[in-house]
Symmetry: C2
Subunit: 253 residues, 2 copies
DNA sequence: CGATAACTTGATGTGACTCAACTTAAGTGG
DNA sequence: CCACTTAAGTTGAGTCACATCAAGTTATCG
């Protein structure tokens, strides 16, 4: 929060905004977007910083431009669980509520397109078409969260690890992430072991064991701690316990 | 589906509709509601019937009037996980999508206020105020699903069982469910052990053991398989691993 | 290059799943 | 209305995946 650099946002149909074609903004007219760009600002947060603390009044909302934001819930006993990960073009923040039930934290260095919540709420009230897009996006998100809940609940740790690896691989193939030539089977997982473990509902130790087991079985290859090569995608799918179709659907949500 | 009886819906500000003050309809004007009542029908489904199958085209949406509907995902290996429970006044159905990712099944005998999905979608497009209420409701639902995901993931089975019992008790206290004098600590859980287990992400056997352990410790008393008395709510809260405030918040979502 | 954090590997205990038998409740038809 | 059948729930014994605690190894950063 303290370290946040502030620039004026470059959104708009002129194509400057890097996430324009994927974010909800895309439903608006040229004029709507100009209005949006007046109330939005680009902000950078270093890895580990808290964008919005759990239970605190929430004043800002917006879209992720670059990096990964984790949405987590910390319980009384201190251990926290990651209930969602937000990627570029995803919307963050809790609209129409006094405070956020979850904390938003920068899992990597992130750049956000931020807006004041009251401003954006007023904008939505005046632009039902965009509010409609927001509703559709939230319905998709609801499906995705439930789907992920079903996965983390009924499956073994190895199945969850395999699912995560495959889904991240598919996503980076689709989105041509930096440093990943399309077609290659290189996966970037820009999260710490602890974050991945919290997301999968396990511990760093168990996670590490599973990753190493996959590596020993030549299913994946550890390039670095956060970078893997998929040597045997078919086996990874088998290990996930899901059908290929299901995995691909999850990857596109 | 086959057994569904059909009546005309009694919604409207005349107060006939039993869930009127809690369902999204309440945001509409008298005229809006008359329009809604023209496109809606009361329908009854016997326990166990499938209202909407997973992956099938979804044509109907609406509100639960009476009973409990389970929202579940069945995986390839056959075991299914309940990702949500819907109670009276809750909205069911998947708007703005060709097919539903989950199945809607009657966990008890249910009565639904149903509408054709295309009709209701058209209605929403013409009534931004109601669509706005729908968005707010879905944002709350999203928080609730994530909250529940955090609970089922980081906690022991006993903690989940205690949480469920306490939350259901609070809900029935709030809603004056049939047969529950307000102030009494009687809980109705209108679900089979299997359904509860699927919802909590465990097995009927483990669930049963935990219930019996709580009964032996005089924390609860088994009146029947689906009816309990809370003898020691404070201990139940302790067993849940949550704070009282958190539990109460969950109960009101 | 030293200090600190992140990750991996090992040993051990246990919560919960599985398989199986038993008990109770709920239907069903004579 | 009661024997009969079938489903639902409970209890028991055995096993295993995973968490925990602890030590070692590899990154990361000032």
């Amino acid at each position: 929060m303290s370290q946040a650099a502030e620039l004026s946002c470059v959104c708009g149909k002129n194509g400057h905004c890097v996430i324009y074609n994927r974010a909800i903004c895309s439903a608006g007219t040229q004029e709507d977007l100009q209005q949006l760009s007046r109330i939005s600002h680009l902000r950078s947060y270093p890895r580990g910083s808290v964008i919005q603390a759990q239970g605190e009044p929430c004043d800002i909302v917006g879209n992720i431009v670059e990096g990964v934001v984790k949405l987590s819930s910390t319980s009384v006993n201190g251990d926290d669980h990651i209930v969602g990960l937000l990627f570029p073009s995803d919307f963050f923040g809790r609209l129409f509520a006094e405070e956020s039930r979850f904390s938003y934290e920068a899992a990597t260095d992130v750049t956000l397109c931020t807006m004041s919540k009251p401003h954006f709420e007023r904008f939505l009230a005046e632009h039902p078409v965009i509010e409609h897009e927001m509703l559709k996006a939230k319905l998709d998100e609801l499906d995705a969260v439930r789907e992920w809940a079903a996965i983390t609940n009924g499956h073994t740790t190895m199945q969850r690890v395999a699912t995560l690896l495959y889904v991240f691989a598919r996503r980076s193939q689709n989105q041509h992430l930096r440093g990943c030539p399309p077609g290659s089977n290189i996966v970037q997982i820009p999260l710490s072991r602890r974050d991945i473990a919290d997301y999968l509902g396990t511990t760093p130790e168990t996670l590490s064991r599973n990753i190493q087991t996959l590596a020993r079985a030549k299913v994946i290859r550890n390039i670095s701690a956060k970078q893997f090569e998929l040597l045997n995608p078919a086996e990874l799918i088998r290990q996930s316990g899901e059908t290929r179709a299901d995995l691909d659907r999850i990857a596109t949500i």
